[in-house]
């Protein structure tokens, strides 16, 4: 692989980092990576191993945490389905929603970024998708007409879950986000008031 291709590939690795971090250190990280690639004392294998280690560090904590929240969602789902403990459907779904809020909150609090919270929630969502084949294998339940209805239901559930994750991820820094939302609404309303073409 040429140095140019290696730089391009590393550019996409840098894109995985939170936006603010990338803005501040992205160029310097690419420069250091380029120094490693052109350094005759450093083998290509060592360069890519260090990048893999970086990715593992970036996602490692989030993966474990996301898997834990996902496993708890699966547990609640199957406890409710198997009638081991009488669990009202609304209560069960409420607990699952709370777990997604918790996943987003914990991820954002640990990483200091909303992206960190979204990542933990995303992993939790992936793990909790086990409930679909699990429900079929354990309870012979497959409440979908065809593949399209399965995809539609999964996409809708994922979107709803990510809403809860997003709300949780915004909580650690809620005052700043509230200020941002208020500012955006203010700007939007201001644009409506000032621009006669936008006015209803």
């Amino acid at each position: 692989m040429t140095a140019r291709w290696a730089d391009r590939l590393y550019g996409s690795v840098v894109a995985l980092y939170p936006w603010r971090f990338r803005k501040e250190y992205g160029e310097e990280m690419k420069l250091v990576f380029n120094d490693m690639v052109i350094d005759p004392e450093v083998s290509r294998k060592r360069v890519w191993l260090s990048v893999i280690r970086d990715i593992a560090n970036l996602t490692g904590g989030g993966l474990g945490l996301g898997a834990l929240f996902g496993a708890l969602v699966v547990l609640i789902w199957f406890v409710g389905r198997s009638d081991i403990v009488p669990l009202d459907t609304t209560l069960g779904l409420g607990l699952i929603a709370l777990l997604f809020v918790g996943a987003g909150f914990t991820g954002a609090w640990r990483s200091g970024t909303i992206a960190g919270g979204i990542w933990v929630g995303f992993v939790a969502g992936l793990v909790s998708a086990v409930t679909v084949p699990g429900d079929y294998l354990l309870f012979r339940n497959f409440p979908f007409y065809d593949l399209m209805s399965l995809v539609f239901t999964m996409a809708t559930s994922a979107a709803i879950a990510m809403l809860f994750v997003g709300a949780g991820a915004a909580l650690p820094d809620s005052s700043r986000h509230r200020h941002r939302i208020r500012r955006s609404i203010g700007a939007f309303v201001g644009a409506w008031r000032q621009d006669p073409e936008l006015s209803p």
Binding site: V14, F21, E28, K30, D35, R53, W109
Partner: protein, 116 residues
């Protein structure tokens, strides 16, 4: 412990990469790749940082006020920033070295020293 609060607790042990980054900056001001190379050399290859891990550690140290960023000179690449150990960083490093010395003395007293 959240990343932002990692250094909030005084006298808490430093992680190995952070310790070696502070150690490399205690000798002289360095830029990113220089730190990376020095950390690997001084740890005899045990600590190999990637660019992401290095800058995550540098950001935490900057946020905690243990290091500072230097403005690049007119003939320097503006993308290649140099970093300097602050007085607080030096105190933190000295504290860590004292802790290590105490641990070695304790291990020596209990005949736990590794056999060479």
């Amino acid at each position: 412990v959240s990343r932002g609060r990692q250094f909030a607790k005084p006298r808490s042990p430093l992680t190995a990469p952070v310790f070696y980054v502070l150690l490399s900056l205690s000798i002289r001001d360095r830029h990113g790749y220089d730190i990376l190379k020095h950390v690997e050399a001084s740890s005899e290859g045990r600590i190999r940082l990637g660019p992401g891990t290095l800058y995550t550690a540098l950001k935490r140290l900057l946020d905690a006020g243990l290091i500072s960023e230097l403005v690049p000179g007119p003939d320097e690449d503006p993308r290649r920033r140099n970093y300097r150990l602050t007085a607080r960083g030096r105190a933190e490093l000295t504290g860590e070295l004292k802790r290590m010395e105490q641990a070695i003395v304790l291990a020596g007293g209990r005949r736990l020293r590794a056999r060479s």
